[in-house]
């Protein structure tokens, strides 16, 4: 019995991943058709991107501040507090920036996209679009997907900038590290390609693709009931989080 059910889970997960991949192909095929709905993409960019700014900025600031505080404490053991800026920047660029932004993005924007599409399906809005000769993949799925892919790296950059600001606030303004030392050590060590391009941009673009795909797919394929939408929302968060952290490891290994 347990063997059968665990096999069942494996088969179900595999078929979900397969369906998800096929759905991605359908969306890619629909991208040219969705170009005429570019206004909808802009509107979704507002909802998933601009509306997530506040939470991203606040979290970025606090992550930077707590990093400044912790690293100052540890580095002071070695008399190396002048390296606080460097370590804050590297920690945020390479890991915390893209990963925390993606997790927040999955929780804030991913769930709302899943719930919204799921409810649109439950209330026949998707079917109504089909009936109005509007392709719901091109009108509903692709704009949300593209908006997520575009918004994620931008949000990650904002997160990182606020994180550096938070680290500076704690390190320089409160703990008294010299302002020039903070910046010069950072600029001497942090590199554009390795830290900003590979660390922040590539990772966050990949995370954006994965989180948006999972969110749209879950919403689009959920059973059109309130229970189904609730499960789909949960699955979006769970699957996104696992995918983000697993991919983070793979990407780090590749981009190092």
């Amino acid at each position: 019995m347990s063997v059968a059910s665990s096999e069942n889970i494996v088969v179900r997960s595999l078929s979900q991943i397969g369906d998800c991949g096929l759905f991605l192909l359908r969306m890619i095929a629909a991208i040219p058709r969705s170009m005429r709905h570019y206004r909808e993409t802009i509107r979704q960019l507002w909802f998933v991107g601009a509306m997530s700014l506040i939470i991203i900025m606040v979290c970025g600031l606090f992550v930077g501040m707590v990093l400044g505080l912790q690293l100052y404490d540890v580095l002071s053991i070695f008399g190396g507090t002048s390296a606080t800026g460097t370590v804050v920047a590297i920690a945020i660029y390479r890991e915390l920036g893209p990963v925390v932004t993606a997790l927040l993005f999955a929780g804030r924007a991913g769930t709302s996209v899943t719930a919204e599409i799921g409810l649109m399906r439950a209330t026949d809005q998707i079917a109504a679009m089909e009936m109005m000769a509007v392709d719901p993949i091109a009108y509903v799925a692709v704009p949300r997907f593209l908006a997520g892919v575009i918004a994620m790296p931008l949000l990650a950059c904002v997160f990182c900038a606020l994180g550096i600001f938070g680290g500076h606030l704690v390190g320089v303004s409160w703990l008294g590290i010299d302002n020039g030392t903070f910046w010069s050590n950072m600029t001497a060590t942090v590199e554009v390609v390795k830290d900003v391009i590979n660390g922040v941009l590539w990772k966050s673009i990949v995370f954006g693709i994965v989180v948006s795909l999972i969110a749209v797919f879950q919403g689009y394929t959920t059973p059109p009931t309130s229970e189904g939408v609730a499960y789909a929302t949960t699955r979006t968060v769970v699957a996104s989080s696992i995918a983000i952290l697993a991919l983070d490891f793979v990407l780090t290994a590749f981009l190092m």
């Binding site: 409810l119 079917a127 009936m131 109005m132 000769a133």
Partner: protein, 278 residues
């Protein structure tokens, strides 16, 4: 699309269903179903719950495909149309969903304007005129600024109707338009269906259970059961055609050709009594 109209100008049948057979989840929904829907008339499709009336509408719009047989809409076989051709056809069909299916993102005005914005590049002034005209026709011009959540069920259905007719379609499919409406709203919708049919000449297909309401508007009634047409005729004569189906359906009997009991094994056996006692 216009050539198909001109090809058979004399054809008075807009939708022709021939030998449609569909199996869903192992259950035969349609068994060689034949239905003709005449142009410019209001045709009602009735039947016990679960006989696939909504499914039939989905076949007409190409959302579903049968396993055998064909559905011809305006001379075109829906099941074999390409995506683009199907979308062209759908632009000429209005569909009123049971739950209205208004887009919750937009207000009433934008909901009605949605098909126009998607399929045309009309100037804003023209879109405004068309939308307000259609809203006026359903009596909701004053509600143009409301969001769908602020509407009552009857109002939402009228907005959905305005949206369905915004392109002046040749055919409107009404899926359970009277469900959940109070008598006033029901009569308003009823009046709209009749007006649209008479003034614009739009062919209408009505799926509903409300016999009294249908008697007021329908020109022709099909009664479907077990995947077949079991009775048809105009509202006055159909109830008196003497078949057990019509007697049960229009008489509202609890038991008859449509059994009260869902098919089950012997009750005695189910309750654990010896088989011979049953």
């Amino acid at each position: 699309m216009t050539d198909s109209i001109s090809a058979k100008p004399e054809d008075s049948t807009l939708v022709r269903v021939r030998g449609l057979t569909t199996v869903l989840n192992g259950k035969k929904v349609f068994d060689a179903l034949d239905i003709d829907i005449p142009r410019g008339k209001i045709t009602a499709i009735m039947g016990p719950s679960g006989t696939g009336k909504t499914t039939l509408l989905k076949h007409i719009t190409g959302q579903m495909r049968g396993d055998a047989g064909e559905v011809l809409v305006d001379g075109q076989n829906v099941a074999t149309l390409s995506r683009d051709k199907l979308f062209e056809l759908r632009e000429r069909i209005g569909y009123l969903f049971q739950n209205s299916a208004l887009l919750t993102d937009f207000d009433v005005f934008e909901n009605v304007a949605f098909p126009l914005r998607q399929h045309t590049e009309l100037p804003e002034v023209l879109i405004r005129n068309i939308v307000l005209t259609k809203l006026q026709a359903v009596g909701l011009r004053g509600a143009a600024g409301l969001m769908p959540t602020e509407l009552s069920g009857g109002m939402a259905r009228r907005v959905a109707l305005a949206r369905a007719i915004v392109f002046d379609p040749m055919l409107i499919l009404y899926d359970e338009p009277f469900v959940g409406l109070d008598p006033i709203a029901l009569n308003q919708v009823l009046k709209l269906i009749r007006t649209l049919n008479q003034t614009l000449g739009i062919t209408s297909v009505l799926v509903a259970h409300e016999l009294e309401a249908i008697k007021q508007v329908a020109d022709h009634i099909y009664l479907i059961a077990n995947g077949k047409v079991v009775a048809q005729g105009d509202p006055k004569t159909i109830a008196n055609d003497g078949s057990p189906w019509t007697r049960q359906f229009f008489g509202g009997d609890a038991d008859g050709p449509v059994p009260f009991q869902y098919p089950a094994g012997d009750l005695g056996v189910s309750l654990g009594f010896p088989g011979k006692n049953a």
